[in-house]
Amino acid sequence: MRVLIIDDEPPAREELRRLLGAYEDIEILGECANAVEGIAAVNRLSPDALFLDIHMPRISGLEMLSMLDPDRRPQVVFLTAHDEHALEAFAESAFDYLLKPVDPERIDKTIRRLRAAHAPSPALFEPARPLTSIPCSGQNRVYLVKLADIEFVVSRSSGIFVVTGAGQERFTELTLKTIEERTPLTRCHRQVLVNPEAIREIVFQESGAAEIVTNAGARVPVSRRHLALLKERLSIA
């Protein structure tokens, strides 16, 4: 079983690594110190299970869960030092939760349950909360970019970038699919999501494709395939 440890406190990660080391069938893929690193690692490594701390900088473990790509949802075991989050965690379809400091007997039970469980039922994740902002990484910090400030999100070879009305481009670990599902942003191209609120005009082209001009004047391509859907979404005949 391939697992990932996500916790902002190094001693907590060490402790968990020590506890999990007792199980031969558990492979620790890595450790992450915050939710942004966590999302990236999940997208990159597709682990079977996460040991996820709830209290983390800027984006909590609970919030991180709703930012995961719906196609790559691992089993989630929450960890918290305060049990007040337990009920909320289960509402978010956690597989299990552990109280810190972790009792070895208790984690044993969790491991047995993980072994017994098969792939997580996708239905479990459905009632995830919509996102109100997109976490973007910056130097030494996480920026939470509000949806209203976003004009479009574009996928490039170097990654996914959020472009704001002010013209700023910020890198995010979230996949286009996650953003499409969890926000009102609409797909207009295989590699682009546009914020309907930011569309100023749509220029139709002879090829059957189109181009969106945003409020800030940026030009965003619309593919033929997505134009019909976009028109339908915007109630244009």
Partner: protein, 570 residues
Amino acid sequence: MEQSLALSFNLMMQTCGYLVVAYLLSRTKLFLPFMRVTVRLPHRIAAYVVFSLFCIMGTYLGLEIDESIANTRAIGAVLGGMLGGPVVGFFVGLTGGLHRYWIGGPTALACTVSTIAEGLIGGFFHLWFTRHGRIVKVFDPFTVALGTFCAEVVQMIILLLMVKPFAAATHLVGQIAAPMLIANTLGAGLFMSILLDRREALEKQSSVFSAKALKIAARAEGALRGGLDRTAAGRVARIIYEETGVGAVAISDREKLLAFIGVGDDHHVVGMPISSRQTLEAMEKNVVLYADGNEVDYQCSIDPHCPLGAALVMPLLGEEERVIGAIKLYEPKTRLFSTINRTLGEGIARLLSAQILAGRYEAQKQLLTQSELKLLQAQVNPHFLFNTLNTLAAVVPKDPDRARQLVQHLAVFFRKNLKRPSQEVTLEDEIDHVQAYLEIEKARFAGNLDVIIDIPPEFAEVRLPAFSLQPIVENAIKHGTSQLIGKGEIHITATRVDDDLVIDVADNAGLHEGGERPVGDDGGLGMKLVARRLETRFGPPYGVSVRCERDVATHVSLRVPLEMREMRAA
């Protein structure tokens, strides 16, 4: 000559009658407007009416000589003009003159003209003094006498000019000039001094009253802040007793006597239950009761031989106008209750009621802060404790020595935490508290947290309320550096600003007022409480201020006096 003297004397006697009327009238409210120079129309009309009446009365109280009248009409006309101005003077003169004309006689027309002239002369005096900014002179009896004298001289000249034949005129003037000059001049001067006396008496009474009231208010300031108990009641009763000079003062709560000072303290013993009918009734109905021993019967309910003969009972009010006790002022049977003391007594009761209310409010506010603080400590510690235990669990197997150190820091932290927030400690104490806390947090964030404490040793002994600094530092970590992906830095510095010490706690996150994630956080309650405590303890400009450079740094500054003064609310 002899006749002239007799006439003067007679006219003087008449003037006395006139002044008696003036004196009596000066005791009424009718005269209040004339004590000051006024431009208001109603006051001028009042002046016109009153002085016209005096003018007419002057005619009636005159002495008839050869079909003309030696009179004191001039007093009314001149005073009307002096106090009311030329317009009032003219109309008073006109009214008095027309009345004289209506009586008739050979000098009727001359008298009418001269009375108007007299009113105008008074008015010109008024105008002259007003223009020269010496309006107080108008109230000077000598000025008034002089004005009247001039007016009389003018009248005599008018009589000489207008009465025909001239021989009759000289005869008449020869007879009445001296008596009228003397009587009117003296009469007007005396009239004015009657008015002055009255004004002085009124002012003196009100200034004595205000002085007493202010003195009591100043002495009793804050006396009942802490509520109504024996010590406070005793102090207040002593103040009232000394300042009002009444026979005795008593203060009680709803059940028993809390303080008694003065005549009859041999049998009015502190602690005894209330037995007086008046006191019970005053508290029951929330009314001020006055038993003077004449109209309302008063008898001491304890001892029939009690020398006290009159009592004023005033209820003391607490929250929501509820009666919480009573104040009683007594005078012995041998003395009368002065009106000043009665009014003053009621004022004192209101003042003390307001104080009790203010005290209650303050106490509740403090209580609230204390309990909020306790709540905060109770809330924060489990979080912190669990986190620390978790860190320890990780450190123990790997590095037992380090774990032992951490346990040591944890012990220091909790020991300092147990200090009551109302205590005051030295800055060094607070730094120890903060350092113990930081050692544990540093272990938790392992290398991801740097702390620099740069406080000059000379500030080590500065005193401040316990538990002021740690919540600020905790805030800087919880809402600041712990939200960073990279390394967090906390900078604690202290600088002297004038006579104050400013302690600055800075983080490198700059997330204050971020408002992006208030969910589940305590929203800086700890900081707010520290701010409120410093403010209530020291008053402005002390307290907590926040300066945030977005995404760069948040500075939280505590300002405290270098020399801790007496606690304000103690």
